[in-house]
């Protein structure tokens, strides 16, 4: 049985990846999961310098999911290279580094520094985090801005570039097309849906940031729909994510047109989720006598 998939020339042993920001750099979850079993570890967003993130409370539970407003706290790219990337060298899995910034120059600085790192297989550009005031989502909600940042990153990037798209737009296919036209090698979607929770006893917002990004099983149908829409709009490969909790959920995304999938908030619920989904996917293929996972990618038109 073949479970490997290829995106922009990078071969992944299976299509199961981690959702950026839900898995650190793999260190914490390596106690639960054999990272060698994963198609790729997608790291928490990293900026040119350390970011402190937002005030607390940063997380809240909602029906069938959660809100987060971490605000991309990260130690900066230099510490990331020295520590996190070094840690990942011992594993036989692909490494996708999520890159964030406040200005285009911030992104370019990180992309340039990561260019020398052979352990980095791909870059995922976060232009869709709803929880920071500057940068991030500002680049992901206007097609022209997305085109501009994508083409500038593509000019200097040494690794293939994935643009991570926001669902908080009128038409996500417009963003997918802009990324493709600017030379992106792939797109990943969806980032979180902007949400809000109010504490009705205290009459105030639950999150210090007022709004947060919603993730978890409750958002899956929205994500499947958007993956399917983008698969019909662009030729570049798609990494699908949003509420994946089981292998069956992963199959749904693959059938909608994703070449790979990422498991996000479910890591917090079940720390074994990624590995169980990778195992479950193999089981699904065997039970359905599918010899190659690529046969089901985009099979639902």
């Amino acid at each position: 049985m073949n479970t490997s998939v290829t995106i922009a020339g990078v071969e992944f042993k299976n299509p199961v990846m981690t959702g950026s920001g839900t898995f650190g750099s793999g260190m914490e979850y390596s106690e639960f999961v054999d990272l060698n079993r994963l198609g790729a570890v997608v790291t928490k967003g990293v900026a040119n310098v350390a970011w402190p993130g937002n005030p607390t409370p940063r997380v809240a539970e909602v029906y069938g999911g959660m809100l987060n407003a971490i605000g991309l706290q990260n130690p900066g790219v230099d510490v990331f290279i020295e520590r996190d990337l070094e840690f990942l060298k011992q594993f036989d899995t692909k490494v996708i580094v999520n890159v964030c910034g406040k200005t285009v120059e911030d992104y370019l600085e990180v992309v340039e520094k990561l260019g020398d790192q052979a352990r980095v297989d791909m870059l995922e550009i976060n232009v869709s985090c709803p929880n920071v005031k500057e940068g991030a989502i500002a680049f992901g909600q206007k097609a022209e801005a997305l085109f501009d940042i994508t083409s500038r990153i593509k000019k200097i990037a040494k690794q293939p570039v994935i643009m991570k798209l926001s669902p908080n737009v009128t038409d996500i296919t417009e963003m997918a097309r802009a990324a493709e036209a600017a030379g992106a090698d792939a797109i990943s979607l969806i980032n979180t849906l902007t949400g809000m929770k109010i504490d009705i006893e205290r009459r105030r917002f639950v999150l210090a940031n007022k709004t947060g990004g919603m993730s978890g099983p409750a958002i899956k149908p929205v994500a499947v729909r958007m993956v399917w829409q983008c698969a019909n709009a662009v030729q570049i490969p798609i990494i699908g994510m949003g509420g994946i909790a089981t292998a069956e959920d992963a199959v749904e995304f693959l059938m909608a047109g994703a070449t790979a999938v990422a498991v996000g908030a479910m890591n917090f619920v079940n720390p074994y989720a990624t590995q169980e989904i990778a195992d479950g996917l193999e089981r699904f293929l065997a039970e359905h006598r599918i010899g190659d996972v690529n046969e089901i990618i985009g099979c639902v038109k």
Binding site: G21, F32, T56, V59, P75, N267, P271
Partner: protein, 259 residues
């Protein structure tokens, strides 16, 4: 540190100790690894509530393989737990957090262990593990002084109640001052105003103090960065002034954190 696991625990029994306060006893392989001040994530069965609920360890018995969790019903998840009965099973994630440093209380030191409200339960295991001169100072809203008899087995116990129905009227700081005890080392768990007061008292008097913090949490294992607290110095892991309460804490030396 022992490897963390998600495991199925057997319910040995549960009883109500006070209004909204429940005492759950679990049989679990994880008990052998647990120390005072650590916690477990407890999973509701209702899949609309996905995240594990962080609950402190009130007592642990490695030999028997049992954990005692005393918690307050605060929402849907804990309301579900309050219905667990003998013979049921519940999923837990653990053992989480660093715990109280018992070795910091050296022989000859006078330790004061302070707990307020639902911060009272983890003080019990601490009282059991500490081997020095120790006094427990616990604060409650009213006369429902849960765990009082348990504390009296292990240490001199001073009570404060907000309504004055038992012990000193006021909070744990009032009770500590009224007792005249001069601690060499402090351990505390409780609501933020209480921890703030203890922290400033400790800093002013130059007393070593360890405080257990809480915050809204998602993963419980240090990955999501949801439950951070402000640190005085740049944190070794985050490289900013934030430490993860679930992993670097929940217990911090008072001088290390800004609360």
């Amino acid at each position: 540190m022992a490897q963390k696991k998600k495991a199925l625990a057997g319910v040995l029994g549960q009883r109500q100790l006070a209004d909204g306060i429940f005492d759950l006893r679990l049989k679990t392989e994880l008990a052998g690894e647990a120390h005072c001040g650590q916690f477990v994530g407890v999973y509701p069965k209702d899949k609309s509530t996905l995240l594990p609920r962080p609950i402190s360890i009130c007592e642990t018995d490695a030999k028997e393989g049992t954990l005692r969790l005393v918690y307050r019903v605060a929402g849907k998840g804990t309301a579900e737990f309050s219905g667990l009965k003998e013979g049921d099973a519940v999923e837990i994630l653990g053992i989480l957090g660093n715990g109280f440093p018992v070795e910091a209380a050296r022989p000859g030191m006078r330790a004061v262990l302070m707990g307020g409200g639902i911060g009272v339960p983890p003080i019990l295991q601490l009282a059991k593990e500490l081997d020095c001169d120790k006094t427990v100072v616990v604060g409650y809203r009213d006369s429902q002084c849960f765990l009082r008899e348990d504390f009296e087995k292990y240490a001199k116990t001073v009570i404060a109640t907000e309504d004055g129905s038992v012990g000193t009227k006021g909070n744990v700081m009032d009770a500590l001052k009224a007792s005249g005890i001069e601690p060499d080392i402090l351990y505390a768990c409780g609501p933020m105003p209480m921890l703030k007061a203890i922290r400033s008292y400790a800093l002013e008097k130059g007393i070593l103090a360890y405080i257990s913090l809480e915050e809204r949490m998602a993963c419980g294992v240090g990955a999501c960065l949801g439950c951070v607290c402000k640190t005085t110095a740049v944190d070794h892991h985050s490289h900013v002034h934030n430490a993860r309460i679930c992993t670097d804490g929940p217990v911090f030396e008072a001088r290390e954190v800004e609360i």
